[in-house]
């Protein structure tokens, strides 16, 4: 044993050194694909887009330009053009109206469904959960087409002959409805999972103390899933900022939606219809800054609420 000890120590040191080496390269190796993909498909295009947002196209000479059009330095003019365009602010305003209707509606229904499914008396839970989740599996474009037909007077089974779903006010509810219908299921699953992971002895104790099912849901479950609700709120706000499919698909059905109706539609129109990819890039960056800002605000508010609850 006395002889064997140094040898063992030696091998141990070797193994440790080896482990250390592997320990330092393996995570890098594992993380590499994700990083490479992120760099290649998110960061690199983003840098290119920043570059574009400071350029613009110049044609010169002759009636239709003599040489090849040149990309010239534009300074902040694309950003100034975006920020000084009243239509940009109108599109933001329309998006905000939809967010103000849609975000609370999504949170309310997702929470309602999650708590209802978790209630003791709930029956057919599996089927109902699937049924509520199913709209999320329907692509936004298909959902918008379906709802479009439900809204149009010619084909409407839900009173389109009497209610103007494409009216100047109605259109906001019509678009929000399609969006909320699509995402409630997904958010419900997040909240339901949060409720299910709570320790059941809490509810048993409350039951023994004489709390009703409703009281348990509102006084115990709801505060405990507040962090999950914050996350749902964050998803919904980001979803509202990214609103594009629904209004774009509903646009050809009526006069109510223009090609710059919400900010992302404006970006798309600028870059792909008006052939001003430079202005489109600038608008995108303004939107990214706004999105990040809003996400921080929602997070802060959420934390504050959670913090107060836990006190």
């Amino acid at each position: 044993m006395a002889i064997a000890a140094p040898a063992r120590a030696h091998t141990q040191a070797k193994v440790q050194a080896h482990r250390k080496k592997r320990g330092s390269s393996l995570p890098v190796f594992l993380v590499a694909p994700a990083v490479v993909l992120l760099l290649l498909f998110t960061i690199a295009p983003a840098i290119y887009a920043i570059d574009l947002s400071f350029l613009h196209l110049k044609i010169s000479g002759g009636l239709l330009g003599t040489g090849t059009p040149q990309e010239v330095w534009a300074g902040f003019s694309n950003y100034i053009a975006t920020l000084s365009d009243p239509e940009f602010w109108h599109s933001l305003g329309r998006m905000l109206i939809i967010a103000v209707i849609g975000v609370p509606a999504t949170i309310f229904f997702a929470t309602l469904f999650a708590l209802s499914l978790d209630a003791k008396r709930a029956r057919l839970v599996g089927f109902t959960r699937l049924a509520i989740f199913l709209p999320y599996a329907v692509p936004g474009v298909v959902a918008s087409l379906l709802w479009g037909f439900l809204y149009l007077p010619a084909t409407s089974p839900i009173g389109g002959q009497f209610i103007n779903y494409f009216g100047s006010t109605g259109i906001f509810f019509s678009v929000t409805n399609v969006a909320v219908w699509g995402v409630v299921g997904f958010n419900m699953v997040i909240l339901y999972t949060a409720v299910r992971s709570l320790p059941p002895d809490l509810f048993e104790a409350a039951e023994l103390d004489g709390a009703s099912e409703l009281q348990i849901a509102l006084r115990i479950k709801l505060p405990l899933i507040a962090p999950a609700i914050t996350m749902v709120a964050l998803f919904s706000v980001i979803g509202a900022l990214q609103l594009f499919n629904e209004p774009t698909t509903l646009k050809p059905l009526a006069n109510a939606i223009t090609s710059t109706w919400v900010p992302l539609m404006r970006v798309y129109t600028q870059a792909n219809v008006n052939n001003d990819i430079y202005g489109g890039s600038a608008t995108s960056f303004v939107l990214i800054i706004l999105t990040v800002g809003l996400a921080i605000v929602v997070n802060l508010i959420g934390r504050r609420i959670v913090g107060r609850e836990s006190k």
Binding site: H56, S168, N274, N275
Partner: protein, 438 residues
């Protein structure tokens, strides 16, 4: 022909098409590098018209040395043109592409397409001045015009007959007929005013004598809110306000239903209408007739155009000579034009083409009107267009759709929407660097 959206190209098909585009782009460059005349040349051709594959097949059979591959673009209209402009730098554009007349100046100023004077025969023999004005700029020719799309008035002959009405000869008659129809049945209207189709309104303005773009030397003048256009806008605004014309956009599910059910008994359309109507109003086949577009003054036969395209050769093409040959065959030769008439229901821009026997039979949807193509030929003779399409008609068109849709939605004045279009167009032209008056 021009109503792209209708063709129901799904996103999936679009993606496939985009994938093929990439693939063929690769093979074309590797397989045919030498311009040796004994070798077969492979050309790629972007076009979204239904039936075009048959036309291409006929060419390929007759020309084994120049093989053309048809590519359906993922997006049509300006989605395609903007992609061509972007890809031009990368050098990946197809050899030949479909271009609607109003988009050609934009592609020329971005150096996406090339002038074909070196390769084409003298076109002035077979094409009218108004047809050539669509493809010739500053003395250079950029394509062979494919079709003439004069605007015409389609109406439900059965309904008009029952009410003792005939096809309106003037816009005043149109307004009178609109009132009679709506009074006889409040659920019926003579037609709709579409904010979805800038080309449609541009055609009506052309008829009234408008000139949205004019040039002098190298300076542009933009007149979208000129007196003639304002007259057209005011006229329609009056009809809409009286409830005689429906402000709904073309091509929507609602419009299809209204056209099919007989809630709309007329349509201000263009020559290619019968190509689209079967999918819109199939139950009414055989009940429609086409008449010349109502005139502003009795006896004046002037009409505008709505749509129309040419084939152009791109700057990326390695074989412009062969590509021009194909373009000239398709739109300028008897064989090509006959194939277009038969397979794509084209009304040719070529003057001898308009006299081809293939046009003696009306399109299937209009089988009840044997002289359908005679009406088209007469209208095609009296076409008036703008002096030139602006280099940024895309901006003007997008502005039309937005400004007119908003005006119709909020019941504000249509002529104010024209001012919005004018300002958007002028400021964009100035930004890009064109010399603009005013």
């Amino acid at each position: 022909m021009r109503k792209s959206k209708l063709k129901g190209v799904t996103a999936a098909v679009g993606l496939l098409a985009a994938a093929t585009l990439v693939l063929t782009g690769c093979t074309a460059t590797t397989s045919a590098t030498s311009a040796d005349s004994s070798k077969t040349v492979h050309l790629t051709f972007t076009n979204w018209d239904g039936g075009m594959q048959t036309v291409v097949d006929e060419w390929n059979k007759a020309n084994p040395k120049i093989q053309v591959k048809l590519i359906k673009p993922a997006g049509t209209g300006y989605t395609l043109y903007n992609k061509l402009i972007t890809n031009n730098k990368a050098g990946t554009n197809p050899d030949v592409t479909e271009v609607e007349y109003q988009a050609l100046p934009a592609l020329i100023s971005n150096k996406v397409v090339i002038s074909l004077d070196k390769y084409l025969p003298d076109l002035s023999k077979n094409f009218s001045a108004s047809a050539l004005a669509q493809v010739q700029f500053q003395g250079k020719t950029y394509g062979v015009p494919q079709n003439a799309c004069p605007m015409v008035f389609f109406y439900r002959k059965d309904v008009f007959d029952k009410l003792g009405l005939s096809a309106p000869a003037t816009w005043a008659d149109y307004a009178k007929a609109a009132a009679v129809i709506h009074a006889a049945d409040p659920a019926q209207q003579i037609g709709n005013f579409t904010a979805a189709d800038p080309g449609w309104f541009a055609g009506l303005a052309q008829q009234a004598g408008a000139n949205w773009w004019t040039t002098k030397g190298t300076t542009w003048t933009v007149g979208i809110n000129d007196a003639a256009t304002v007259k057209v806008a005011d006229y329609w605004e009056g009809l809409i306000n009286q409830g005689l014309v429906n402000p709904e956009p073309n091509w929507s599910a609602q419009w299809n239903t209204d056209m099919n059910s007989g809630a709309l008994v007329g349509w201000v359309g263009a020559q290619w209408g019968p190509n689209q109507l079967p999918s819109i109003a199939k139950d009414t086949a055989g009940k429609w007739e086409a008449a010349p577009l109502p005139a502003w003054t009795a006896g004046d036969k002037t009409v505008g155009i709505w749509g129309g395209e040419t084939e152009a050769v791109t700057a990326n093409s390695k074989y412009p000579e062969q590509a021009a040959k194909f373009v000239n065959w398709m739109n300028g030769s008897t064989a090509g034009i006959n194939s277009l008439i038969k397979n794509v229901q084209v009304f040719p821009a070529s003057t001898p083409g308009q006299a081809l026997p293939a046009l003696k039979t009306p399109p299937p949807f209009m089988s009840n009107q044997p002289d359908y193509n005679a009406v088209m030929a007469e209208s095609a003779k009296n076409v008036r267009t703008f002096q030139i399409w602006g280099p940024n008609a895309n901006v003007t068109f997008d502005s039309y759709s937005n400004a007119f849709a908003s005006a119709l939605q909020n019941k504000t004045s249509l002529s104010a929407a024209l001012t919005t279009m004018q300002n958007a167009t002028v400021s964009d032209m100035k930004k890009i660097g064109f010399k603009v008056n005013g």
